[in-house]
């Protein structure tokens, strides 16, 4: 757009602040259209900045606001300065990189150093509040009332008053000071006080708007936690059984007399026998999560066992996919071949279908009693229950789903290689295999190597392939914690972290960091080795 108009509008524009001589080319602000686009984009960016500041302001996070302001100011500087041409191109990419790559990695790393998990999500204060709230009980002789919420004076600001009737004719007014008898109240059939002198009865919406106050409000009585509301029309006398004592940093159960002491290393309250209260809080645990699977005997052996199979799986799949894909591409590359388009469409079909559905279909085909394979071939193989059969099944399904992609890439690469090279090699007396091996393949590998590395990295973390077919199984006699025969690190992590009810974010984050490191190291090593190979070939 901007470039189109630069020829006509640009010449007549008067007030463009950024001169046309700036070295940034046509985008740097020469044309009116370009200027408008730039102003719009910056305006949008600023609006987003304001939008981002609002929640930070409400949360009182001043350094966060400072960061947003700094980023906005930096972007303004970059796009209005004439000296920052490279930055104009780099800034968006870098911001994306920080937001979607670097920040998640750093956040995962910081999470891996905590015990964040179900029961250890919030802060200690939240845990204490929850423990106390859940300890308010009602015993047999505690009283129950029909409640009307009223206020002393103005419905919005007046002090809250509970108008209570006990169903036996007694009516009371409960304030923060205590319970007093109420005279002259009008009571309806359900026992609810509808009107009284001196207090303003609140409508449901008015009560609701004061929900926070109501949560805290209790009419003190001679025992326990006082009279609290439950909904709009009932109140009961409760008794707080567990009370937090700041002086000893502990919680005492007044009913049983058991004292639970805060353990700031484990993030929960424990009694002398090691019994804990269910509500805990998040604490830093240092490198414990990493030590757990590197040195704990059960975890360590399963971790390394899984790692070995993970590598075997990724290498095998990548290799087979490459071989099959290339073989098909070579076959369809033969000039004399007829109906190439039809074949190519057929070959690409598995790639075009939803892999999620395809994996499920494959799993059904592997069913030992009802699956297609055993029925058609008359086999009795326990595909998903036998260790090696399951591994074979997972690899087979993956090769089937993966080779069309390799075929596409190889076809493209083959077409870029001049046929004359092959013909020249044949003239020199090379057989077809020799021509392929020494002329076509090396040229092909230049294009294919990065693809192979990314295929390897993808398959190393191919969660769907394993989870949807075997869910990591079959499992040995050691059970699920040891990892299944087809478990990849990522499915193993997933099961340990999110299996059933307990989400262990800290531990999962530690495993994710390990996977990240392993894949990074492998990719770097492979890349540098291919570079070395290319040097040699030259």
């Amino acid at each position: 757009m901007a470039a189109d108009r630069s020829g006509t509008a640009g010449a007549s524009s008067k007030g463009a602040p950024a001169g046309r001589k700036s070295p940034g080319g046509p985008q740097a602000g020469g044309s009116l259209g370009g200027q408008i686009t730039k102003i719009l984009l910056l305006g949008l960016f600023t609006a987003l900045g304001v939008w981002a500041v609002l929640p930070l302001y409400l949360a009182g996070l001043w350094w966060g606001i400072g960061l947003v302001v700094a980023v906005v100011a930096f972007v303004y500087w970059v796009y209005f300065s004439k000296r920052t041409v490279p930055a104009k191109y780099l800034v968006p990419g870098v911001l994306f990189l920080m937001a979607f790559q670097i920040f998640p990695v750093l956040y995962t790393m910081s999470t891996s150093l905590t015990n964040m998990s179900d029961g250890h999500r919030g802060s200690k204060d939240q845990a204490i509040a929850s423990i106390e709230a859940f300890s308010v009980t009602r015993d047999a002789d505690s009283r129950e009332f029909v409640l009307t919420v009223a206020a002393n004076g103005d419905p919005e600001t007046g002090e809250l008053v509970f108008l209570l009737s006990d169903g036996e004719g007694g009516t009371y007014a409960g304030t923060e000071e205590g319970l007093t008898d109420l005279v002259g109240a009008q009571v309806d059939d359900s026992g609810k006080i509808t009107d009284t002198i001196g207090y303003t009865v609140l409508t449901p919406a008015q009560v609701n708007s004061r929900s926070d106050e109501l949560q805290e409000f209790a009419v003190p009585t001679d025992k326990g936690a006082g009279i609290r509301s439950s909904g709009l029309s009932s109140a009961f006398e409760g008794n707080a059984v567990r009370v937090y004592d700041e002086s000893c940093d502990c919680i005492e159960d007044t009913e049983t007399g058991v004292v639970y002491h805060a353990d700031d290393e484990r993030g929960a309250f424990y009694d002398e026998d090691g019994q804990r209260l269910p509500q805990g809080w998040q604490v830093g645990v240092g490198l414990d999560n990493f030590l757990r699977f590197l040195f704990d005997p059960t975890f360590a052996s399963s971790f390394f066992g899984t790692l070995v199979w993970n590598i075997v799986f990724a290498v095998t799949v990548t290799f087979l996919v490459f071989v099959v894909g290339l073989a098909v591409a070579l076959t369809l590359h033969v000039p004399k071949m007829r109906g190439k388009v039809v074949y190519r469409i057929l070959v690409v079909l598995p790639y075009a279908m939803s892999s999620l559905a395809m994996y499920l279909l494959w799993r059904d085909m592997f069913n030992a009693d009802f699956g297609l394979f055993n029925r058609m071939l008359g086999l009795q193989v326990d595909w998903l229950g036998d260790v090696w059969a399951a591994r074979f099944a997972v690899i087979l399904a993956n090769v089937w789903l993966g080779y069309p992609y390799m075929f596409l890439v190889a076809t493209g690469a083959l077409q870029a290689i001049p046929r004359e090279l092959g013909q020249a090699a044949q003239l020199d007396g090379a057989g077809p295999w020799q021509a392929f091996r020494h002329v076509t393949l090396p040229l092909l590998m230049v294009a294919m190597t990065p693809i192979l590395i990314s295929t390897f990295a993808f398959n190393f973390n191919n969660f769907n392939a394993v989870w949807l077919i075997t869910r990591g199984g079959p499992f040995g006699s050691e059970g699920t914690t040891a990892g299944g025969a087809t478990d990849l690190l990522i499915t193993y992590t997933y099961r340990l972290a999110f299996s059933e009810a307990t989400a262990q974010y800290g531990y999962a984050a530690a495993l994710s960091v390990m996977i990240f490191l392993i894949v990074s190291v492998m990719s770097v090593v492979t890349l540098s080795r291919t570079k070395a190979l290319q040097e040699v070939e030259r």
């Binding site: 980023v71 999470t111 179900d118 709230a133 269910p278």
Partner: protein, 453 residues
């Protein structure tokens, strides 16, 4: 033949298959979403930097759980429900909204996702005011402080089934208000098997005769799968004397008394193994949640361990069926299927806590409201009046309630979640012919380690 079976079973099982696929996709999405939420949660610092990210992309979050527009705001009561019941709740709650001068907004979340999402959303401060849930979530909701305890006035509490209220209670606190229950039962093809079997032995005998005559290809459609199905297996396991958790004097589940590796459970599973792959071949890992229903609806199996969720499909199929209790073993205890309760919870820290409490205390226990929900999604009500009204209209409801008479509420302690997977894998191994003692003792150790006992 082989192809035909595969194709027809595909055709028949279509609704269920899609549902399973959806569940699976949900599981996947949930996994990624859990991580997303994990990143976006924590300190508000995160929100600040995430905001910068959003500034750069100029696009909002996916609005699933992270979106700020969801969650509770004063004046609008936000309720999370599964899509099946959302419309019914919305229309029923309209009356409540009008009477109290507020708005009610029912938002759809897949039932399987609610538990995980609610805990994350609560932590992030954008949870709804009220949500629908199952009683076995209570342990996890309690330890994360996600919900606030509820006090039911005596008359309201008395109108509800006592076991249902107990099932929703933990540490002496009522966490949610139950409205319906469900349990698994035996569905039989009355053309093939006219009489309800009294014992499991009888069931196997009838089924085996039919199979030998070539009428059917299976004796019983009971999902086991590669990873086992302890939810369904519990009926048979308890009949043979096995147990998962013991109960203390008050009838509360006792995580100290873990029964997986106990002699009783090992004996029970040995008994069940007689019907496994190395024995009679009635229970097999190849029968799983994907194909169990189609086996029954195709007439390939005379008996089916089914749940209320299968009744809709059964009514539209051309199979003549009847519902009865899952039979126990001859001379042993009756089979005790797990009973699940569903109810409504109030989120801790809700901006509309007064009305949220009012809603669950006085509205969810109202028989009109329960009937509206029943019409949308038939489950056995736990409120006496509603149960009576519903049973009159639908004889299956009374039958289903009967099949749950020997049932036991699924344990609701947090430790329960850790037992499913190890126990399931052990059960699947035993069905495949592995040594029961070895498998169960390993599972016992794994669970004991996870729950820290």
């Amino acid at each position: 033949m082989s192809c035909k079976l595969l194709l027809t079973s595909h055709h028949q099982a279509c609704p269920q298959r899609t549902r399973n696929l959806q569940n699976r996709m949900h599981a996947l999405r949930q996994s990624s979403r859990k991580e997303d939420t994990m990143r976006s949660r924590s300190a508000s610092a995160v929100a600040g930097i995430a905001a910068i990210a959003l500034m750069a992309t100029a696009c909002g979050g996916d609005g699933d759980t992270g979106g700020g527009e969801e969650g509770s705001a004063e004046g609008t009561l936000v309720i999370w429900s599964d899509p099946e019941r959302a419309d019914a709740i919305q229309s029923a709650a309209a009356e409540f909204a009008e009477a109290n001068g507020i708005e009610v907004d029912v938002q759809n979340v897949s039932f399987d996702d609610i538990q995980g999402d609610i805990v994350n959303a609560h932590q992030a401060g954008n949870a709804p005011d009220v949500f629908i849930g199952a009683h076995d979530w209570t342990g996890n909701l309690l330890r994360n402080g996600t919900v606030q305890p509820i006090e039911l006035p005596t008359d309201r509490a008395e109108s509800l089934d006592e076991t249902a209220v107990e099932a929703m209670t933990l540490e002496g606190q009522l966490l949610g208000v139950p409205y319906a229950q469900e349990n698994i039962f035996l569905m039989r093809n009355t053309e093939l098997a006219p009489d309800a079997p009294e014992t499991f032995e009888e069931l196997v005998e009838v089924g085996t005769d039919l199979k030998d005559d070539g009428e059917t290809s299976e004796v019983l459609a009971m999902a086991v799968g590669q990873e086992g199905d302890p939810f369904r297996m519990n009926a048979l396991m308890t009949s043979a004397g096995g147990y998962l958790f013991g109960q203390d004097d008050n009838g509360d589940w006792d995580p100290e008394d873990l029964g997986i590796g106990s002699d009783e459970t090992i004996e029970a599973m040995e008994k069940i193994a007689e019907y496994g792959e190395e024995g009679e071949g009635v229970l097999r890992r190849s029968i799983d949640l994907e194909n169990e229903a189609s086996l029954f609806f195709d007439g390939e199996a005379p008996f089916f361990v089914a749940g209320p969720w299968n009744v809709g499909d059964a009514n539209t199929s051309d199979i003549e069926y009847e519902i009865s209790a899952i039979p126990g073993f001859d001379g042993l205890d009756p089979a005790s299927p797990y009973i699940g309760y569903q109810g409504f919870f109030v989120t801790e820290g809700s901006a509309n806590s007064a009305l949220a409490e009012e809603f669950v205390v006085n509205y969810v226990t109202d028989s009109d409201f329960i009937q509206t929900l029943y019409d949308a999604d038939p489950r056995t009500p736990v409120q006496a009046e509603a149960l009576e009204a519903v049973s009159e209209a639908d004889p299956n409801i009374a039958l289903m309630a009967e099949t749950g008479e020997n049932g036991m509420p699924m344990p609701n302690i947090p430790e329960m979640g850790e037992t499913w997977e190890p126990l399931g894998v052990a059960q699947a191994q035993i069905i495949s012919g592995a040594d029961a003692r070895e498998a169960l003792e390993t599972a016992h150790e794994a669970v004991a380690e996870r729950i820290g006992r």
